[in-house]
Symmetry: D2
Subunit: 313 residues, 4 copies
């Protein structure tokens, strides 16, 4: 028996890349945080500091920047380019490339918001001035191993809230149960989700398809959250995932992680006031945490990509 | 000579209040973080722990919640109610009430986005399901002292970026200067601003006027950022403030604090590539920091409210 | 084919528990953030909102607090109590209990730091006044599944730095490589580690053994970081893990995640100055990221506990 | 009446400087975040983008780095050097230089912790390997205006807790008061303090005097927190400040800002358990906030340095 190197990976994390597409006066910006991590035969550096095979993390960063010169496309296709490049090195047998994208919107201005040239060019808002959108981020991940490339897409911190249409009751009561049953509560969460594209999608999808698909999945998730009368956050989470799989046969699986951002009804009785669902305290910690995968019945076993995702999803 | 108590204030910070207006099926939510701080004669508690005059910070929190039962209105009017209430206590000679408001938007759904009942009711989007908007926050502050009540309104962390229309040159070069002059750069900042309403505004304004004014000032700030060809972030900051004062005679003064969120053009020459303003590195630290007040020439001296604001603004 | 519920877990996250042991005048405090997550048969709540089997997350929080009434012991033994309690419910087939512990030190005071009663009582520092120690946290995790209970111990964000004794060279150079080789650099990282105790340890260990073992492993990790002349952060990471496994046969495996917190030598030549390893810029992003497991050769396959850890470790 | 530029300042924020003193094998490291802000006649850049007088923020950063080549000394003396340098420019009439210092401790190793050479050399721990200490930071600020240079020293986020020796009662009860009186509670806060040195100190102090004074003031603050039986956090805050002024006649004034980090006794009665001050919930928000200046009676009026400090202190 001896002590040996187990699973390992290394790379450059959070390369903050902003790409400006300025082929016309109407600029587009893509704002990304990219992480590149390589897997393979790296025993020598771990065991003796022999770096012969170590593609420097600085080189990985440079490669991200250099590839951006040709345009980013969608986050998924950009990561696929990186994955294919790095896995050409013989010592690299796999890896993991992650992108988080920040949203920007065009600033509305008198000129551009009008019915003139900009609108005619297909949009409103200023040509080259932008304001940061919601705190939520679009995410993408490409995983490479002996079996090939896997593409996940996702979103993080999409904060949503329902002011009614949510209840929670029927749960068991034991010595430690004090929570009252409620038939009307605020339901609020920060949706984090990852969905795995089937090969039938990734084999043909280009940037436009990835972008469009992302937008549609996001809409389905939000609309399901909004429309379902919720008896438990678990029910809402499962329904959100199921709706996505029902809509798209080429999405193989989806995982969601949703904190229950508690909003406690404030007791106003000591002040001689009622509180018919109007005044709430938004708590920080602790919070509930609901995590689930929604899958297709023919899928058995856990896809290896999930072991590379931080946390449950 | 002796050692004495100087300026002091105390209160409850960051009361996280979510108010649901549910008088119709089309709910409205107001999501606030409220801080209440009192000033006055509090020598006894400091010097001997005699709390006879100390309105407990817990009581201040309760008061915030109880007042919300009647509705919030605008952040400014809600803080004015708190200020008037707390300054009734004889030992309280002044104070400072601060609100930060988080934005929410209605989730677009099939039913509500259509041309039916919801749209007829004056809007689109779901009746009671919301998604958190941009990370930026609307702010308000009411300051009370012997001279009366002063109202500030503001915004924080409005992140904006211009992908062209910004240059920086003509600055002096000394032994420590290495920065090249540039005639085209990315200009990006997180706008924090506070403006002070003149009594002529606050004497008559109700919630609707505060809300409308806030929206218009925000638009002016963004539009000015977008439209001005910038020779220095200082020029942009001053122009933003000046545009607000020009638009509204009943805004007495505005202060802005704007980091220069550096986006460095990546040198791709080592890779045999040019970089015509397309690939940038978004740096974290250090960052430039530009802060300025824009005033009216008849205003001399510093209004005491500014000493209660964290930082320059 | 149908759409089905896959792996799932739920619970209460970040219960902020502070326990004061006050059986003598010399108090002890234990400051923890506890997360409890249950796994099992929870199809009904996901699929139809039937909560008959859902032990409320609020009940889980209450249980944490109630159990603390009997004392916490070590984080590991406290989590084991929770795991054994919750898995008694027939619908609960497993789970995951996580603790993060914040460190506190006694405040040095004139009386207690002396050679009198307090020192005689086995220590120095004040009896009931404490100051928060380093930002690092001690961590523990108990995982339950059909195979029984597994105990991990760990630490997070132990920030360390060597001002010499680190080099990086011999790495391959391709089109995208610009990094110069260096024979003397700052090496800095935030150590996150998890180690898995073998059953031979957990079967007999009580709180004192867990506490002592944690302290010794932490010392080994730091001492190895300090003493090894580093040719690569990978070499340092592997050596740190190996030293732990060599010291303790009843630690089965250890995983480490270590960012490379880059400290770039500032180029002072433009100012007519040399810089012999004295003035550095501490960068934020991007950063290198080195992650590795160190194992025993007879261990093959991945222990299921790792799939429940956020990220690589 | 016209619209004019009011108070303004600009500079480079959070220059992350790590200085290694390596004149002997026993290295010392100084880890700082430096902010430099200039005030003066900058109308031209604000009003027309004429940057003739604008010492670029990049130049300010370079100057910080270049000056570090000669050593840092104490944060206060380093900032004084910067202040004297920048105010030589005729258009610069004042400014504000801020430092935050992160603490590091030597890693204990077998060799260096012993009684041998290292200990003989005046210390224990490794010669060039360090571990980050508490999250607290030492701070310093130099302010320049027409009246000359003012030096503040301070500390941030020194988190302290007393598990007994604190009560709160005797406060007034109105319609909104629900807080019970308590004669034994946890008192916990994060101390932020700034003290202003009198000219009699700054005229002669060198780095050693600033370092020693900082250490002593920190000890006094902590010891006072520990020793005082507290009837209100206000009483503790005032006593802490007073003790510092009593100890040092050449400290002119001190200001403190201390959140009341609430620790709520958990109600265990529903579970059939008592809770004699043992199990607490550490709340995040809202929190109390106590802020006070402690001064000498002969000091009247507010020193202009305070207007440049973020928040109350």
């Amino acid at each position: 028996m001896s002590i040996v190197l187990g699973p390992n990976q290394y790379g450059k994390a959070e390369v903050r890349l902003v790409r400006v597409d300025r082929d016309t006066a109407r600029h587009r910006i893509t704002d990304l945080s990219i992480t590149s991590q390589l897997r393979g035969d790296f025993h020598a550096t771990h065991e003796s500091g022999d770096n012969t095979g170590v593609i420097a993390t600085d080189t990985q960063k440079n490669t991200v920047n250099a590839f951006a010169r040709d345009g980013v496309g969608s986050p998924e296709t950009f990561l696929l380019r990186l994955a294919r490049h790095f896995t050409q090195a013989p010592q690299v047998t796999g890896g993991r490339w992650l992108a988080e994208q920040y949203g920007w919107e065009r600033i509305a201005t008198g000129a551009s918001a009008g019915a003139g040239a900009a609108a005619a060019a297909g949009g409103v808002g200023h040509d080259h001035a932008f304001v940061r959108g919601a705190a939520e981020r679009r995410t993408a991940l490409v995983h490479a191993d002996d079996a090939g490339l896997t593409v996940l897409a996702g979103l993080r911190d999409v904060t949503v809230l329902k002011s009614t249409g949510s209840e929670f009751s029927g749960f068991p009561r034991d010595r430690y149960t004090t929570l009252p049953e409620v038939d009307d509560r605020i339901l609020a969460t920060d949706v984090t989700a990852w969905w795995r594209y089937a090969p039938s999608f990734t084999e043909t999808a280009g940037p436009a398809e990835y972008d469009e698909r992302f937008a549609t999945v996001r809409s389905i998730l939000l609309e399901t959250f909004a429309e379902l009368h919720s008896l438990a956050l678990q029910q809402t989470v499962f329904a959100m995932g199921k709706a996505v799989l029902e809509a798209f046969g080429d999405i193989a699986e989806i995982r969601l992680s949703c904190p229950n951002n508690h909003h406690f009804l404030v007791d106003l009785e000591p002040f001689g006031l009622d509180n018919p669902g109007e005044v709430f305290f938004a708590a920080d910690r602790p919070y509930g945490l609901i995590e689930a995968a929604v899958q297709r019945s023919e899928d058995d076993g856990e896809h290896p990509v999930w072991s590379t995702i931080g946390g449950f999803v």
